[in-house]
Amino acid sequence: MANKKVGKKDITGLLEQWSQQFAVFAPSKENGVAEMLKWDGQDTSFLDWYRNTVVPPKASFLPPMEEMFRFQKGKEGYNIEPPPEDENKPLIFGVRPCDARAMAILDMTFKDAYEDPYYLSKRKNTVLVGMGCTNPCESCFCTSMGTSPTDPTNVDLMLIDIGDEFLIEEVTDKGKELTAKTKGLKEATKDDEAKAKQANKASYDRVTRKLDTEGIKDRLLASFDDEEFWEKTAAKCISCGICTLLCPTCYCFDINDEMVKQEGARFRSWDSCGFPLYTKMPMENPRQEKWRRVRQKVCHKYEFYPMTYDIIACTGCGRCIRLCPVNWDITQVIESVPTKTEARK
């Protein structure tokens, strides 16, 4: 496919063009941490410092809090009002391949059996412009999880850094449509694409952290009842929600109602299997102990998801490693799962 290219100094112009049709979100450090914020119109300093955001792009499809519907209690009973059609068309600039792959993993759940209207409508309305990593973090291990710092598969457009320009790979029709309507893009030459390939190789080798997930599904199944192992693994965990709420492949949510006088609404908000009340039933709580909750967190991604969708629900973005208050490291845990895969008791 004929790739395009754009100079790094023309990025501002490019984003301005796109801002006419889309609500452009780009990385920003305004609040002291990297996050996707509405692009303020001129700042493109993120091209130098940006590595990855703290809150993953999943937050624009499954927001930390979302109103599902409103209701009013009138004289003749309840009236339920679904949310208005959201017409804003976001464009997220700078999505990393690990987060893009994570959204493909989330799609599997939100499309399975019943379609989730909220998540899927946002997914359809949003354009994802990916950007290849040139400076992976120490905690990143995407190359061990079936993707790479420049993997274009799950975004509409993919920008690869080739010196002072970006090569733009058109991945989906939405992407082609976008570049067709965008002025000022140059055609990529053969040596641009050679430079891109060479840049991809360089980025790939800069991911130092490795993880061998060979046979992990069976190892976890075999050690599912190994309480001693799970207690040792969960010892230092403090059951906070960082590694799950900020994980791009975590999708658990809670549903709550609020009503003031005669009007109310039902909310959906992020939840975590690490929280003690996550499975609490009035009579008992199957996962009261911390080690059971840590086991669920690990097994869901490396055993249950593979059993159901034949893919490990982890893309090696490294957030859970670098953001954990006690430096609980998923790669160390996976390596330490007992290797004996003899039949279960």
């Binding site: 009973g77 309840y78 379609e115 999708y251 109602d257 499975t279 009035p282 199957p286 869901h300």
Partner: protein, 286 residues
Amino acid sequence: MTVSDTKFFAQGNVYLPHIAVIEKIVEETPGVRTYHFNFKDEKLRKEFTFDSGQFGQYSVLGTGEATFCISSSPTRPDHLEFAVQKVGKVTNALNRLGVGAEIGFRGPYGNSFPLDFLKGKNLVFVGGGIGLAPLRSLIWNVIDNRDKYKKIDIVYGARTPADLCFKYDLEAWDKDKTVNMVTTVDRGDDKWKGKVGVVPKILEEVAPSAGESVAIVCGPPIMIRFTFPVLEKLGFKPEQMLTTLEKRMKCGIGKCGRCNIGNLYVCRDGPVFSYAQIKDFVSSEY
């Protein structure tokens, strides 16, 4: 994996509840009430169908949503029933509602009892406390098509005689010659003349034969955990043992992630499971 039949979606959105009106309330025990309800929307009232074993998400708008099985049988579609034990925020709110009050309902969700698999077999129902609610839907379904099934044994127990739910059903099944009704309580009282003992022990006494039989178990987790070994001792193979499991649920459609047992979601892949499906995880996750 249940196929998503979208015909019962309210306004095309799986999460929006339909409005239903409570028509009758039956006090089963001091803590348990059965609600008879029907949809406000006439068209839906006629078209709504479900299978025994499926559940719904019931809303007290402003308080929250909770999961209960549909405890009436599809063979008696004039109204729908569900039984509620007063234990938490939504169940307390439900308890404050009277006849004529409006609740929300969305569903039916989950799979159902495999009627074809049960046809032509002896059926052993093992119920505990309010666990009889899902079984009740299947029992009346089976009794209304009595000729399709062979012997029926029902072993049902509760903590005390006052805790026995659906007493009127127990009497009806006791009178029915074609049904062997065994009721027990953990602790009897002076007026109680029936059996005394926990359900698994009484089941051992009843000792139903495993040949051409299927056992359907539902009750508190402790009862389920002790019933499976008894059934195995009686010769029941894992495929011959069905159960409906109860887990904390929020979405009811396999999205919010909390009702899993191993890789299976109780709401989407259940709530009816064969013991074969869940024996890897049930001991440590239920």
